[in-house]
C-alpha cells in the first residue's frame, strides 16, 4: 500500500516533466522538420540576404558584448561597493531594460537618440549626425537590451567575493587594479561568463528595438531576427524564415558551446 502511494506522485511528476519538456522540444523539432523537409531551405540559407544578415548579426552582437563588458565591469564593480543614498533606485534603473519589452526599448531609444529625440536633435543640428537607420543604432539597441544582463550578473559575481580577500590583498601590497585582476576577477569569473553569454544571446536575438530604432535594410541594419521576420512576410513565406531560424539557432549553439568550453577551461575552481 505504502509503496503504491509513494509511487503515485512520482507518476504525476513524471508526466508533468514530460509535458513540460515536450513544450520546449517540439518547437525545435518543428523547425528542423520544416527546414530539412523543404528543398528551398538551402537556397534561403545561402542567399545574399541571409549571409549579409548573419555577418551583421555576428559582428554587431560581438561588438555590443565587448562594449557591455568594457563599460559594464567597472560600473558593476563600483555599484557593488559604493554606498550612497538612492543606490537602490540606480540599480533598479539599470535592471529596467531587462523587464522592459524590447519594443518599448526601441521607442525609448527613439525619444532619446532619434532625429527629434533629446540628444538626437542637437546631434543632427550641430554635427549633422543621425543615428537612426545606421548600424550604430543596431548596436545601441543591442547594448540597451543586452548590457543590463551582463551588469546584473557581474554585480552578483562581485558581491559573492568576500571583501576580506581584497582587503588582505591590499595589505600584501596589491594595488586596487592588481587585487581586482588577481582576486576578484578569477573568483567571480563564472558569473561574468554567464552574464556575458546572456548579454550576447540577447543582443543576437534583439528584434523589437532594432526594428523601431534602426530600421530594416539589408547589410546595414537587417540583422538575422529582422531577416527572419522579413522572410516570414514574403510570398514563399515560412520556408525561408524557418531556414534562417535554423541557421541562427545553429550559430548561436556553436558560439555558446565554444564559450562555455573556453570559460570552463579558464575558469576558477574555488
Amino acid at each position: 500500500m505504502t509503496a503504491l502511494r509513494a509511487r503515485a506522485p512520482h507518476l504525476g511528476l513524471g508526466l508533468l516533466i514530460a509535458v513540460f519538456a515536450l513544450f520546449f522540444l517540439l518547437p525545435f523539432a518543428g523547425l528542423l522538420e520544416r527546414g530539412l523537409g523543404d528543398g528551398g531551405a538551402w537556397d534561403a540559407i545561402t542567399s545574399d540576404t541571409a549571409l549579409d544578415a548573419l555577418v551583421l548579426s555576428l559582428w554587431t552582437s560581438a561588438l555590443s558584448l565587448v562594449i557591455a563588458v568594457v563599460a559594464g565591469t567597472p560600473v558593476a564593480y563600483w555599484l557593488t561597493h559604493a554606498r550612497f543614498p538612492g543606490k537602490g533606485a540606480v540599480e533598479a534603473l539599470i535592471d529596467l531594460p531587462i523587464v522592459l519589452p524590447p519594443t518599448i526599448a526601441g521607442v525609448a531609444l527613439l525619444t532619446a537618440f532619434g532625429r527629434r529625440g533629446l540628444l538626437g536633435t542637437p546631434l543632427d543640428e550641430w554635427f549633422g549626425v543621425t543615428l537612426g537607420f545606421s548600424t550604430v543604432a543596431v548596436i545601441m539597441a543591442q547594448l540597451f537590451v543586452g548590457a543590463p544582463f551582463y551588469v546584473r550578473a557581474a554585480r552578483a559575481g562581485f558581491a559573492s567575493v568576500d571583501g576580506q580577500y581584497e582587503r588582505v590583498a591590499h595589505t600584501l601590497g596589491a594595488s586596487r587594479l592588481r587585487a581586482f585582476g588577481r582576486i576578484v576577477l578569477p573568483l567571480s569569473w563564472p558569473s561574468l561568463a554567464a552574464g556575458a553569454a546572456l548579454c550576447w544571446a540577447r543582443a543576437l536575438g534583439e528584434l523589437g528595438a532594432t526594428l523601431i530604432f534602426a530600421g530594416n535594410l539589408q547589410g546595414e541594419t537587417q540583422t538575422m531576427p529582422l531577416a527572419i521576420l522579413s522572410a516570414f512576410e514574403r510570398a514563399d513565406g515560412l520556408t525561408a524564415a524557418v531556414a534562417l531560424a535554423i541557421l541562427l539557432l545553429a550559430v548561436a549553439l556553436v558560439a555558446l558551446a565554444a564559450f562555455w568550453l573556453l570559460s570552463s577551461r579558464n575558469g576558477a575552481t574555488p
Binding site: L217, L229, E233, A235, G237
Partner: protein
C-alpha cells in the same frame, strides 16, 4: 507621435491566441477579421458600426502587413475574414483552398509623405531621387512596398535605381513606414493616400497620374459562418462603403 503599427503586431498575436482558444458556438457570435495595416482606422469604425447594428456580434480585429497575415492563415490561424491590400495574397489563400468567397473591397492611391519639418527640399515626385534624402519604403514583399516599387518602375529604371539608393529601411508594414516619417527619422516615404487621414506632422506630395498604381483591396471569406458573411455584406454595403470612403479609400461598387 503615433506608432500604431507596433501595437498592431501585438494585437494580431493576442487575437490569434484568443481565437485559438475560443469556439464559434458561443451565444455571442464572434467574427475574427485579419486586415491589412492600412485598414486599421477604417476597419475599426466598420467593426464598431457593425456591432452597433448587431448587438449579438463581437468583431475581433487584427492588423498587420498583408503578407504576414497571409502566412499566418496558411499556417492555420483561425480567422473568418481576410482583408488584403492586394489580390495576390487572397489568390495565394484561394490556391490553398482556403477561400469560400472573395470580393473587391476598395482601391487606394499612393502618395508621397514628407516630414513637415524635414530639411529636405522635396517638392514633387521627382524629388525622391534627390541624393541624400532619407527615404523609407515598405518591404518589397508587402503590398504597399510592391505598389511603391511598381510606381517607381513606371518612371524608368534609372530613376528607380536613384530612388532606391536613398532607401534607409524596408519596414514590415505601411503604418511602420508612415511612423518613421511622423517621428522625423525619415524625410519621406511612399504610403497609401488613405494613411494621410491618420497621419500627424507630415505633408503629402501627389504622385502624377501616369505613375500611379492603384492598390486593390480584396476581402475574403475564409469559412462558412453567418456572422462573418454578415460582416462581409456590411463591409461592401453602401453604409460600409461610406465608412471606407471617410478614411480615404475609394470603395468599389458591390460586385460578387
Amino acid at each position: 507621435m503615433s506608432l500604431r503599427a507596433i501595437p498592431a503586431a501585438a494585437v494580431a498575436t493576442a487575437a490569434l491566441a484568443l481565437a485559438a482558444c475560443g469556439g464559434n458556438d458561443e451565444p455571442r457570435q464572434t467574427v475574427t477579421v485579419l486586415a491589412a495595416a492600412s485598414l486599421t482606422e477604417a476597419f475599426g469604425e466598420l467593426a464598431e458600426a457593425f456591432e452597433g447594428s448587431r448587438p449579438d456580434a463581437d468583431v475581433r480585429l487584427a492588423f498587420a502587413g498583408s503578407a504576414a497575415l497571409r502566412t499566418q492563415v496558411l499556417e492555420g490561424a483561425p480567422a473568418d475574414l481576410f482583408a488584403s491590400a492586394s489580390p495576390d495574397e487572397v489568390a495565394a489563400l484561394a490556391a490553398a483552398g482556403l477561400v469560400v468567397e472573395q470580393r473587391a473591397l476598395a482601391r487606394n492611391a499612393l502618395v508621397v509623405v514628407v516630414a513637415e519639418d524635414a530639411s529636405a527640399r522635396i517638392g514633387d515626385f521627382a524629388g525622391l531621387a534627390e541624393p541624400g534624402l532619407r527615404l523609407v519604403l515598405t518591404a518589397e514583399d508587402v503590398p504597399a512596398g510592391r505598389y511603391a516599387r511598381e510606381s517607381l518602375a513606371l518612371a524608368g529604371t534609372e530613376f528607380t535605381a536613384r530612388v532606391l539608393a536613398n532607401v534607409r529601411s524596408n519596414e514590415a508594414n505601411v503604418r511602420a513606414t508612415l511612423a518613421k516619417v511622423e517621428l522625423g527619422e525619415a524625410d519621406a516615404a511612399i504610403v497609401y493616400a488613405s494613411d494621410l487621414a491618420a497621419a500627424n506632422g507630415v505633408r503629402a506630395v501627389t504622385i502624377p497620374a501616369r505613375f500611379q498604381v492603384a492598390a486593390e483591396y480584396r476581402i475574403a471569406l475564409l469559412g462558412e459562418n453567418a456572422g462573418a458573411r454578415a460582416f462581409l455584406a456590411f463591409a461592401t454595403s453602401p453604409e460600409g462603403s461610406a465608412i471606407l470612403a471617410r478614411h480615404g479609400l475609394e470603395p468599389v461598387a458591390v460586385a460578387p
